[in-house]
């Protein structure tokens, strides 16, 4: 049972990079998704038997790619791949591909994937739903819950979004780091609060479980901060997600009704997540380059640190006298 826990974690952690790399190979969302799912099925069979591979991401990419190519070949003529054992870790077969897939490759791939999901032709709600489905691998049910719509409606929305990207000229080629970073920064202002509204601003949920199951801050941290290790706004955003998520259990009562911040049972807050959020905002502030997410995270940090509810006036004065006083805003 613990083996499966490990495998689930490894697959979840590898997903954005593996999906992104497979999309680069196949240039088609459905093919990439199918290849990834195929690789996951094989991982469930192979990993408990052969032990964990040295690099699960590279393993999934390689096996997914081979399986898909195999399927394509099979439809024309019967060509079989070597048995799975040869592809497994025992032969260290993924070492070569692991070396080639260094951090910068992953980054361009993942950025491309994010940008395809956030294609300008798509309305914001579809962009977010698609990104959650493709990049984070959330189930349609989880996404539907976060947006408070029916499962069938969400399924349709995602299918429609995929079809739309399929026919348009999706930006498969454009992942120049500088350009995308600038764009992401501009975009961050629109898309991510929308996502947050979707995740946190909802009225219903069985004791916050909807929010808790949808939002895995560890996945976002891995995604955002690996892509932009030195970007203070990404630190701020990740800190914000951690701090918000830390309170999710305390946010709803047994009937699913929202509990306001001042009435929440603070002993339910996740201290480890708060600790990490505080560490990240601390680190971001060191850069003296404030932005909206850092400010929001700093305010959330004040709440998270407080043993009793804070008053708004106390907050305002603390914010203005903090280390940023001498800095000018970034835009």
């Amino acid at each position: 049972v613990t083996d499966f826990g490990w495998i689930e974690g490894a697959i979840a952690a590898a997903r954005p990079q593996a999906m992104a790399a497979l999309l680069r190979y196949f240039r088609e969302m459905d093919a990439a998704e199918e290849a990834f799912q195929d690789a996951c099925l094989r991982a469930l069979k192979a990993w408990p038997k052969n032990g964990p591979p040295r690099d699960p991401t590279a393993w999934l990419i390689m096996v997914g790619r081979n399986a898909a190519i195999d399927a394509i070949r099979k439809s024309s003529r019967e060509t079989v791949l070597p048995p799975e054992e040869l592809l497994s870790d025992l032969e260290d077969a993924e070492a070569e591909i692991a070396d080639r897939l260094d951090g910068s490759h992953y980054r361009d791939d993942v950025l491309r994937l994010l940008f395809i999901c956030c294609h300008p032709d798509l309305p914001a709600t579809q962009q977010i739903a698609l990104a959650l489905r493709i990049v984070s691998g959330l189930s349609v049910r989880e996404i539907a819950r976060a947006f408070v719509v029916g499962e069938a409606a969400m399924e349709q929305r995602i299918t429609r979004a995929k079809a739309r990207i399929g026919v348009g000229d999706a930006p498969f080629e454009d992942a120049r780091a500088d350009r995308t970073r600038r764009a992401l920064r501009g975009r961050g202002g629109d898309d991510l609060p929308g996502l947050q509204r979707g995740l946190f601003g909802q009225r219903q949920g069985d004791r916050g479980q909807a929010a808790a199951s949808v939002m895995k801050p560890s996945a976002w941290r891995a995604l955002l901060l690996r892509l932009f290790p030195a970007e203070p706004e990404m630190m701020g955003l990740t800190a914000l997600l951690l701090l918000q998520h830390a309170r999710s259990i305390a946010r709803f009562d047994a009937d699913g009704a929202a509990i306001l911040l001042e009435d929440q049972d603070r002993s339910l807050w996740n201290r480890a997540m708060i600790g990490e959020g505080l560490a990240l905002i601390d680190k971001a502030m060191l850069k003296r380059n404030p932005g909206p997410y850092q400010v929001q995270a700093a305010i959330a940090a004040l709440h998270a640190r407080a043993p009793v509810p804070r008053t708004p006036t106390g907050l305002a004065s603390t914010c203005s006298t903090r280390r940023w006083r001498s800095c000018s805003p970034r835009r």
Binding site: T2, G5, W6, E8, G9, A10, A12, A13, A14, P52, R54, D55, P56, A98, D102, G103, K216, S218, A219, R221, A222, L225, R226, P229, A230, M235, T238, G275, E276, A279, L280, K283, L286
Partner: protein
């Protein structure tokens, strides 16, 4: 002899553990730690926040350079450590094997400690 047992694993994987998996691993680890504690052999134990929360100070220049990370290209990251009192390397390896049974995956680096100041912070 004091040994440091340095825990290396892929942090993205460890951070993505489900709550149930995390709780079950912690329970098993605490059982091993409790035994060492009773024998008076367990020193400080630390679990580190992910490397995304880390900062590096390069002090080979003046003024020193503050960097984000480490974001080394290594597959595994330093996630925490134990300090354990053991008769010999053999004993330290036994402790590491017990910890490894409770928490499989990744690796432990066992390093004899040259200088140890227990300190008082956080006590």
């Amino acid at each position: 002899m004091l040994y440091a047992i340095l825990c290396y694993n892929q942090e993205d994987v460890v951070c993505a553990w489900s709550k149930e998996h995390e709780d079950s691993v912690m329970e098993k680890l605490i059982a091993v730690q409790d035994r060492l504690s009773r024998e008076g052999r367990l020193g400080p134990v630390a679990r580190l926040m992910p490397t995304t929360a880390a900062t590096t100070l390069r002090k080979d220049r003046e003024p020193p350079l503050v960097l984000d990370g480490p974001f080394a290209e290594t597959k595994e990251q330093l996630l925490g450590f134990y300090v354990v009192d053991c008769e010999s390397l053999d004993g330290a390896l036994d402790v590491a094997k017990d910890l490894g049974k409770a928490n499989p995956g990744g690796s432990y680096e066992i390093r004899p400690i040259a200088l140890f100041q227990p300190g008082a912070a956080g006590a």
